[in-house]
Amino acid sequence: MAKLVMNEEETMLADMARGFLDDACPVSKLREMRDAGVTSDAATWKEMADLGWAGVLVPEEAGGSDMGFAAANVIAHEMGKTLAVSPFISSAVIAATALRQVNDARALGALAKIASGDVTYALAVDEGIKFDPEGVQMEAKADGNGFRLNGKKQFVVDGASADRLLVLARTADGLTLFDIPADRVGVNCDASNMIDARDAARITFEDVEATGEDVLGAVDNAMDILKPAINAGQAALAAEMTGLSVGAFTMTVDYLKERKQFGVEIGRFQALQHRAAHLWCEIEVTSSAILNAGRKLDEDSSVAETAVSLAKARATQTAILAVQEGVQMHGGIGMTDAFDMGFYMKRARVSAEWLGDYSYHAEKIAAERGF
């Protein structure tokens, strides 16, 4: 029976990841990129690929490290601590999981390119302000042997830098998932000026041609392929958010120990102590949900939905609390751009919305519980 404890390999993976990220992707790196107006970092992604992260969910036969979902969560969690910039969730988690459901040579080839870091993916689902894959309206009209795609997507995370797009569109009798290159004729990508200084885009599709070859899985049956991929992405994002919570919390507790007011460390004030303790309890409880989601995904990624929604719902609430307390307890300095807490707050807000907000996931759990 899988235990809700990090095993030895996971602990080692976390240690290694932390070492690399502290060095290669401290928050100051994100700050530099933000100041330079740059939202993606291909060189670092190559290094991450060399560490086996890009192929964490790619079979070994395609050159992946195939470490599994719990391991992917471990990496995402560490990335969250320093707000590391990478297409990890979009490419290595979501796209890899989707492609893996397709058992053919073409998919294996694509997986190999993901694992090597040579190709990155983004998932284009959202059309309105909220995540709602079942409600996708973008049309993929049958046209000869293929399709013509017309419509708009927004909040395509990592979309401006992605080489390829997974596009969810409506076909005659359901939803179909297309895997197309980002530079195909008719695809127009507008980078969004995101508050978290990360890559996201609004993408329009004008008479974009797609063949049967571009369809991932079966026509009208996107969810068979996409559901496990979304589950995996949501879990990794929840893990990243919990890493973010830990990062913000650690800064805050350190500050409570150092900062003096009225002659004493502010960490001696019991009201702040209890709030910090409460926040720690929340993070601890959320961590269990993250660990559980990884275990359940590794058991069967297509039925882990409730475990994943629990993780994302909890991670969202916890991260928002962590950054709110982080800013408030730091006082004025927490509000300045020169201090890192603002980056955590903005990233938490973006992550809260991506792949379904608290309410989306709470409703899934309520539905599963019968109310």
Binding site: M1, K3, Q273, W280
Partner: protein, 388 residues
């Protein structure tokens, strides 16, 4: 073909339960009325309750993880999980609840001598002796180590005088384990011994305390020249605080378990919500969802801490988190159940039973066994290392 030993255990257990768990015991109830507490004066509420206890005790299933020698079934952590899953599948009632199981057992298993274990544990496992706990004293509140009850050294015994409060079900218990000051001079944490007292051995009196829920689960307990033989001590003389601290950690996890709904009570909110769906407004539903999300995550945390313990990582002070989160959740859940019940829930023993009494009872959850404030201070100082 090899069968996974855990699968084999599950199959065997499922069989046994199907054959041995009486139909009347398959309602999953965990109310004041349905619980079997055992003890010398216990009156079974039904024949089924008696039969169920006897059959479980014979297999060691009242204390499944205790060693077989002391009345348990010697189950591993994995087997224990399966045991609870299979019991849950049948909605089987717990055959026996007792402070002997929750508190005395862990204390003796960790600090007791082999003789003590043999003497005290099997009667607990069989439901023959009911224990209670004598920790708190009047006026001490959260300051548990502030023990005034005194045991005077009389050579072969201690002569105990003093008073305890919040002794749960002391009026129904046969024995009490108590913190007693056995040194008047030594500092607070080095003057206390952990003693075992026969409540019918003379010198012990109890008086129930009526609570706001209308019942009296707690008592005041008075010791007047009670004689306690020297061998009735757990651990060393004046080192009883070590035992108490160990048990406090244990107790926190246990109380939290109730809150997280791993025990039978946890199903209640979900059921109430489903029953009253039509009348449930948007706010109540949103609050209930939040509660459910937290409940599931806290339940997983309890599982995680158990798995960690099995892996040799004790929860220690972090158990304060379980106690805090679990009990606050449980209070919130009962607030929502009262809300969902509307005016039906405002009557004692009205159309929705004792819902109000259960609700009021939960208010003690965040006080007994260490207040939420004490738990947060433990986390703040000992886990986070904040000063003060």
């Amino acid at each position: 073909m090899t069968v996974n030993p855990l699968d084999a255990f599950r199959a065997e257990l499922r069989d046994w339960l199907a054959q041995n768990c009486p139909e009347e015991m398959r309602d999953g109830l965990m109310t004041e009325e349905s619980i079997c507490w055992g003890g010398k004066d216990w009156v079974f509420t039904s024949d089924a309750q008696r039969v169920w206890l006897e059959r479980c005790a014979a297999k060691g299933y009242t204390v499944p993880t205790w060693p077989v020698a002391y009345g348990g079934a010697g189950l591993s952590r994995d087997q224990e999980k399966i045991f609870h899953e299979e019991m849950g599948r049948l909605d089987a009632r717990s055959p026996l609840q007792s402070f002997g199981i929750w508190m005395l057992g862990p204390a003796l298993l960790h600090f007791g001598t082999h003789e003590q274990k043999l003497q005290y544990l099997p009667p607990v496992a069989r439901g023959e002796v009911r224990w209670c706990q004598g920790y708190s004293e009047p006026g001490a509140g959260s300051d548990l180590a502030n023990v005034q009850t005194h045991g005077e050294d009389k050579g072969d015994h201690w002569l105990v005088n003093g008073q305890k409060i919040w002794t749960s079900y002391a009026d129904k218990a046969d024995w009490i384990f108590a913190l007693v000051r056995t040194d008047r001079e030594a500092p607070k944490h080095k003057c206390i011994s952990f003693l075992l007292l026969d409540m019918k051995g003379g010198g012990v009196e109890t008086r129930p305390i009526k609570m706001i829920s209308g019942v009296s689960p707690f008592c005041e307990t008075f010791f007047t020249d009670a004689k306690i033989p020297k061998e009735q001590i757990v651990g060393e003389v004046n080192r009883g605080w070590d035992v108490a601290k160990y048990l406090l950690t244990h107790e926190r996890e246990m109380i939290s378990g109730g809150g997280a709904g791993l025990s039978g009570g946890g199903r209640a909110l979900g059921a109430v919500i489903k029953d009253t769906m039509d009348e449930m407004d948007a706010t109540l539903r949103a609050d209930a969802m939040r509660c459910e999300v937290n409940s599931l995550a806290i339940g997983l945390t309890l599982e995680r801490y158990k798995d960690q313990a099995e892996a040799g990582q004790g929860a220690g002070d972090a158990s304060a988190m379980l106690k805090y989160m679990g009990t606050e959740l449980n209070k919130q859940r009962h607030e929502l159940m009262m809300n969902a019940g509307g005016s039906d829930a405002l009557e004692w023993d009205g159309p929705v039973g004792n819902r109000a009494g259960d609700w009021l009872r939960t208010k003690a959850n965040s006080i007994e066994g260490g207040t939420s404030e004490v738990m947060l201070s433990i986390v703040s100082r000992r886990v986070l290392g904040l000063p003060g």
